[in-house]
């Protein structure tokens, strides 16, 4: 063997050994038994800063990385309990609060969690005025000008809060369980503040929380992975040591990954794909009512739609049972009030049975027996988790054709749709509204109070009685009196601008190797208590 060849071999061997050593000395890796892979479209995530994150993926991730003052028990969103807070008192019908914190809590890096971190985090939610999520906190009247005096640390384990506006106590506790109030390590975040950005650029793709998981890697629209927090002491250590969300925008790819065992969980499969998994011994299906609604909005400023009899007729003309049974394939329930099932104030009443004869009679009474033509904005992609929005729009179009309402469908990207919807130029619009926090005000406000400049305002319905009802109910505790107001709202909105089509289910397909798989709209998938065999 030549000297040159020998040197080459020895150099290669040295490199190999160095590489092996480097790999061994690198970060801890977890094998398949300790890792759960989630196949999902994660391209919606914009940032992992908890005070700014507002998309499905980023909120789910923030929830795992950050603790909050309160939390909801798994699969029970009726009453919050303490997480970082052990107890609290409220006075003046929820405008003044005192929270007592657990002692000895730590962030992922071992820093102690104290009241200063809680106050800092809530201030961030208010001070970052461009945050899409901050309004959840600022709707209480907190502003950058008053937050420093209204939210204070009293010693290391007590926080006092004064909410400038009357606000339902249950709603505030629910918001304090939302990731927008996720507690960040003030010391660490302050070190990364650049040009007054509140550390947001750094928190975009880093974590500084005390939740059960720590961010390992985030490549936007590619992969998001977390590992178990070694210093987590708010509960039992997670059995699943690593969670990986793998970007799979195509549902067929997700289904294939689940069936091959390359993914443990698949989210967002179509109704037909879910049906194809029935009978597969390696896959289980979890179906949970989502606290959300798929609805059609009617702009009351449009000729035809401005007649309450016409709006009522349209609601009678839609075949809701057929939509839920045939199109949605049972992955949802009929629901016609503005407050969905699972929240205080829900009513199971279905006043609009499918009745074409009655719809035609109403159209005739309104002077529109010959009907009219109107356009409907339809988003691309799925709606209600499992259904093509275009397919649903076609069904509604067909239903309305029976009463001579001719609908021209305009399929468009969400950004284009919401540009027109927010500009009050949509005639009909097919959309959905999902939960922010489990309190009826989260739905009643946008759907009934035009002063919010939200959904009902976009449809040009400036009803003062509805607005006053919603505002009054918004400040109340969950009492029979509050429930009665929402019942009244339900009845008064029968000729309103919303046809609630159905309440969708969240359907998750997962490997039978996983144990203790739960889902709800606040806790999302509970990886902390999940097991994998």
């Amino acid at each position: 063997m030549s000297r040159r060849a020998l040197m080459a071999i020895l150099s290669g061997a040295a490199l190999l050994m160095a590489g092996a050593g480097t790999a061994a000395a690198g970060s801890v890796t977890y094998g398949p038994n300790n890792t759960v892979i989630v196949a999902q479209d994660i391209s919606d995530a914009i940032t992992l800063d908890p005070q700014v994150a507002y998309e499905f993926t980023s909120v789910a991730a923030a929830h795992l990385m950050y603790s909050t003052l309160t939390q909801f028990p798994l699969e029970n969103l009726t009453k919050p309990e303490g997480e970082v807070a052990t107890s609290w008192t409220e006075t003046d019908n929820g405008q003044n609060w005192v929270f007592h914190l657990r002692k000895g809590l730590k962030f992922w890096n071992g820093d102690p969690l104290t009241s200063a971190d809680v106050v800092y985090s809530l201030e961030r939610a208010v001070d970052i005025t461009t945050s899409p999520a901050g309004w959840l906190v600022t709707q209480t009247g907190l502003t950058p000008q008053n937050v420093a005096q209204d939210i204070k640390a009293v010693g290391p384990y007590e926080v006092t809060m004064h909410l400038p506006q009357a606000f339902a106590p249950g709603a505030w506790l629910a918001i304090l369980a939302n990731s927008v109030t996720g507690i960040v390590d003030m010391k660490v975040v302050e070190q990364h503040v650049v040009k007054g950005d509140y550390g947001s650029h750094w928190l975009y793709d880093h974590s500084a929380g005390s939740g059960p998981y720590v961010l390992q890697q985030w490549q936007p629209a590619q992969v998001l992975s977390m590992t178990a927090n070694p210093n987590y002491n708010l509960g039992p250590a997670p059995q699943v040591k690593r969670v990986v969300w793998q970007e799979m925008s195509d549902t067929t790819t997700r289904l294939d990954a689940l069936q091959r065992g390359n993914a443990d969980v698949a989210i967002g499969l179509t109704a037909a794909q879910l049906a194809s998994l029935k009978g597969n011994p390696n896959v289980k299906i979890l179906k949970v009512p989502q606290i959300a609604q798929v609805y059609m909005g009617m702009n009351v400023g449009v000729p035809g739609l401005n007649n309450p009899l016409v709006r009522e007729a349209i609601k009678y003309a839609i075949d809701y049972p057929a939509i839920v049974k045939d199109l949605v394939q049972g992955d949802g329930i009929e629901e016609q009030g503005i407050i969905p099932k699972g929240i205080f104030g829900y009513s199971p009443s279905l006043p609009f049975g499918y009745n074409v004869a009655k719809a035609k009679a109403l159209m005739k009474k309104a002077g529109y027996a010959k009907g009219f033509t109107v356009s409907m904005l339809v988003p691309t992609g799925t709606i209600g988790n499992t259904v093509s929005a275009e397919a649903l729009a076609e069904v509604i179009k067909s239903d309305l054709a029976a009463i001579n309402v001719n609908v021209n469908l305009k399929l468009m990207q969400s950004s284009a749709l919401y540009s027109q919807y927010r500009a009050q130029t949509a005639q009909l619009v097919l959309a959905e509204w999902e939960l922010d926090y489990p309190d009826p005000q989260d739905f009643a406000g946008p759907f009934a109070d035009y002063t919010d400049k939200s959904l009902i305002w976009r449809l040009k319905d400036y009803s003062k009685p509805l607005s006053l009802l919603a505002q009054k109910a918004a400040t109340m505790q969950d009492t029979p009196a509050r429930a009665a107001l929402y019942t009244q709202l339900f009845n008064d909105m029968k000729t309103g601008p919303f046809a609630i089509i159905y309440q969708p289910d969240e359907v998750i397909a997962y490997s039978s190797k996983l144990g203790h798989v739960t889902y709800d709209d606040v806790n999302n998938i509970d990886f902390q208590n999940m097991s994998k065999s």
Binding site: G19, G26, T130, S415, S419, R422
Partner: protein, 337 residues
């Protein structure tokens, strides 16, 4: 005109081209009646948040003023802030560009190796069944849409045969190497993480082949026709008459001259590859600039769209310049002046 003077003149012209590109892109992105802020704030945020973001981004200013601010920032090396995620556009480009560079370079290797080999074989065995197969291969690359090829290759090699992994840069159980260049293969190599390197290379095969096949066909056809032309030249006849081995005649004498037009095609191919293999990156979930461009255009994220367009224009112009300058090295007859 000397070499350096020529290069400087070309760079100066490039700047004018880039200015025109930004102006046209800026106007086009503002013609569409979509509020780009909505992609960031979402549907639930109140109007006050929409207004606050518009003000922070300067979107409430008149259009000419917005463009002037953009150019001023550009001259100072600031590509602006993405409306969709409020991060510096340069930061986002830094995240996505390495993946495209990695994929495009791998595809280019496929183009050069396979394309040239196919072209040479096809020329040497002209009008035989070998030539027919080679030409069919080239035609397939040029004719078949990339999305079709990608889906078929995934279906066959991943789903059916299981020989190669599915979409993504790495498998779900593989931890990414430390970030050095942003290119996973290179970073794994530099950090000595051989198992990650192997996984990354396996994931690179399918998208690189799919992306490279189209340009492979073009290069193969160009090499074939150029080589056939050169093989009929007097100096090649002389070389054969001198008793040189056919391999020497082809590789040392004929191929070098046949490479001149091929160089142009290869250069232009690299430019095309780098501009964002949108469909390939989408189907293979490759986190490159193509996917970033798609998302930016969909959301009408004007600063991001301008940034991507600028990068694509710079790359294309630069690659063309390099190709033109390389001619002098390949063909001593060429001079600048």
């Amino acid at each position: 005109m000397g070499f350096f003077a020529y290069a400087i003149r070309r760079v100066a012209l490039m700047v004018l081209v880039l200015l025109g590109v930004t102006a046209i892109t800026f106007v086009l992105t503002h013609v569409v009646p979509v509020n780009p802020v909505l992609a960031y704030v979402g549907d639930h945020a109140p109007q006050s948040v929409v207004v606050a973001v518009e003000k922070q981004m300067g979107l409430n200013l008149p259009l000419p003023e917005q463009y002037a601010v953009y150019l001023w920032n550009l001259v100072h090396g600031n590509l602006g802030t993405s409306i969709a995620n409020q991060q510096p556009v340069s930061y986002d480009l830094g995240l996505y560009l390495p993946a495209t560079l990695e994929l495009s370079t791998a595809a280019l290797l496929v183009v050069i190796v396979v394309g040239m080999a196919t072209g040479v074989v096809s020329a040497l065995y002209r009008n035989t069944w070998i030539d027919q197969i080679a030409r069919l291969f080239a035609l397939g690359g040029v004719s078949l849409p990339v999305f079709f090829t990608a889906l078929v290759f995934l279906g066959v090699f991943y789903v059916l045969l299981g020989w190669l992994p599915g979409p993504g840069q790495l498998g779900p159980y593989t931890v990414a190497p430390p970030h050095i260049t942003g290119m996973v293969v290179v970073d794994a190599l530099l950090s000595g993480d051989w198992s990650t390197l192997g996984d990354a290379l396996r994931h690179l095969v399918l998208p690189a082949v799919v992306l490279g096949w189209a340009s492979t066909g073009v290069v193969a056809r160009m090499v074939r026709s150029s080589l056939l032309e050169v093989l009929g030249a007097d100096y090649v006849r002389t070389a054969r008459a001198k008793g040189l081995a056919e391999r020497t005649v082809v590789l040392r004498h004929a191929l070098r001259n046949a490479l001149i037009p091929t160089l142009t095609v290869v250069g232009l191919s690299y430019g095309s590859l780098l501009q964002g293999a949108v469909l390939t990156e989408t189907i293979f979930a490759w986190p490159g600039i193509g996917r970033f461009a798609t998302a930016s255009v969909t959301d009408l994220d004007v600063p991001a769209v301008l940034g991507v367009t600028l990068v694509a224009a710079i790359i294309y112009s630069f690659v063309n310049l390099i190709v033109d300058l390389l001619y002098a090295g390949v063909d001593p007859r060429i001079s600048y002046g």
